[in-house]
Amino acid sequence: MYTSVKASLDAIKRAEKLITDDILSVEHPLRAAQIVESLSPLVEKVMAEGSLYDPGLGALAIIQAQGDPIEAAFLLRAYRSTLPRLGYSIPSRSEDVHVLRRISPAFQDVPGGQVLGRTRDYTLRLLDLSLANGASFPAAAGRDSRSSSENHAPPGDAAQATKAPPEFPVVLDYLRKDGYVEEAPAGSGEDEPFDVTTEPLRFPAKRSARLQIMARGEAGALLSLGYAAMRGYGESHAYVSEVRVGSVDVKIRHPITGNPAAIGRIPVTEAHAVFPGKASLNDRRADLTFGYGLTLGGDERKAISMAIVDENLSQRHHAGGLTQDDEFVLQNIDCVESSGFVEHLKMPHYVAFQADMQRTNRITELMKRVGRNGNHR
């Protein structure tokens, strides 16, 4: 039970001022531009979970939240709620991603090839103490002294740098063509995608709603559920058919010409996952099912987790796993909702607690009597 309480507004204002004073009084204050430049994964996380792309605002929210990403995402959500919706973009597709990294752990000779891009996946995670004083990475410092052709080994690959990016065909299209996964059902597209920012969610949720909620879901929550799905709380082990990291154009329809026109690009990471073992003669079902992950920024962990959970939620035949329950998943991965509910426990609950304590007192008294008399009449 919630109840209104009265308290000193002065004390509340002074409590908040202590935080703003802390932010304003630091010896080396960070500027938003520095945060955008240096901490892009954090800014992207806040924007993704705040569901608003604007790096400057993301960085500002991080400063105001003193680095707390959930608080920062909350600030962005609150800000976006004050702005009017001016329109919708033309939907971007997998093949529209300007690829800066593309790997396929499932297909060694994936059409279009693989490009590692920026990754630490194949090297050791060692804390570089030389960074403590703002020194450069030893490897980078060494590289500076070499000729540009030596920056990237081996020499034969240098020629690649001057070429246009190759085409990266979508692996799923090949799998579908060869009958490994089902054809896209005709007319499967919902008439208008569900919008969780304007409509109350109902269950079972439409897939467009699921994808939107997961795209703005908290990365750690999705990671936990993706991991749980593989550990037996779902029924699937994924193979990642491809991961694409890069950017997509935000294209609107020009209001005067009616043609598509890009107003800029946003960074994205996309994960395609396939899951074998689903063939069924009775249902005429192909063996592979598919899960899709897409997130703002470069968070591959989140995109892959989302793809796993998406596939789990798409299962036609539930085995009862927690990660196959859309209500369980979708109601627990939004950081603003979940943190709001957990943290509301800090608000005054005096009446509710008093009522519960009266009940507790009666039970305690009853137990005492039972203990004294052996039984109670």
């Binding site: 702005l83 090839g113 299209d173 395609h272």
Partner: protein, 139 residues
């Protein structure tokens, strides 16, 4: 450069470039502001590839403006909260459409921006191209 490409180039151009050109154009161009500049949101949509299902992905902060120069409309939308940039871009769009004396200069400046955008894309690819890899079986 067609009008759609002009919108793209203006969205990528610096505030300083657009405002500088627009200030000069306005010395001899009468415009009426008919929309904005308004800071708002565009919902970026994506298509899920297996079902070709469109979903609402993320909102993008944008600023939109529209002006009228005589009978010619000038329109702009740029990413971020940039009322001055959006208004300047709308003025430049109207200036080019009405064949203002600065039209060629504006188009030339935007072609440079467009060329810079292409160079940036190439440079981004050039940085990662040497990391193309073929995994071989370790047998």
């Amino acid at each position: 450069m067609n009008r759609d490409q002009r919108l793209e180039a203006m969205a990528s151009a610096s505030d300083k470039l657009l405002v500088g050109l627009a200030d000069r154009a306005l010395e001899s161009l009468d415009v009426e502001v008919v929309r904005g500049p308004t800071v708002g949101l565009v919902m970026a949509r994506a298509e899920e590839p297996s079902e070709k299902l469109v979903f609402n992905f993320v909102e993008v902060a944008v600023t939109e403006a529209e002006v009228l120069a005589g009978e010619e409309r000038g329109y702009a939308m740029v990413m971020g909260r940039s009322p001055e940039k959006a208004l300047a871009a709308a003025v430049l769009d109207a200036a080019v459409e009405s064949r203002h004396a600065m039209a060629e200069e504006i188009e030339a400046a935007l072609e440079l921006v467009q060329s810079g955008m292409k160079s940036e894309m190439k440079a981004q690819w050039a940085a990662v191209a040497p990391t193309q890899i073929t995994f071989e079986d370790a047998t």
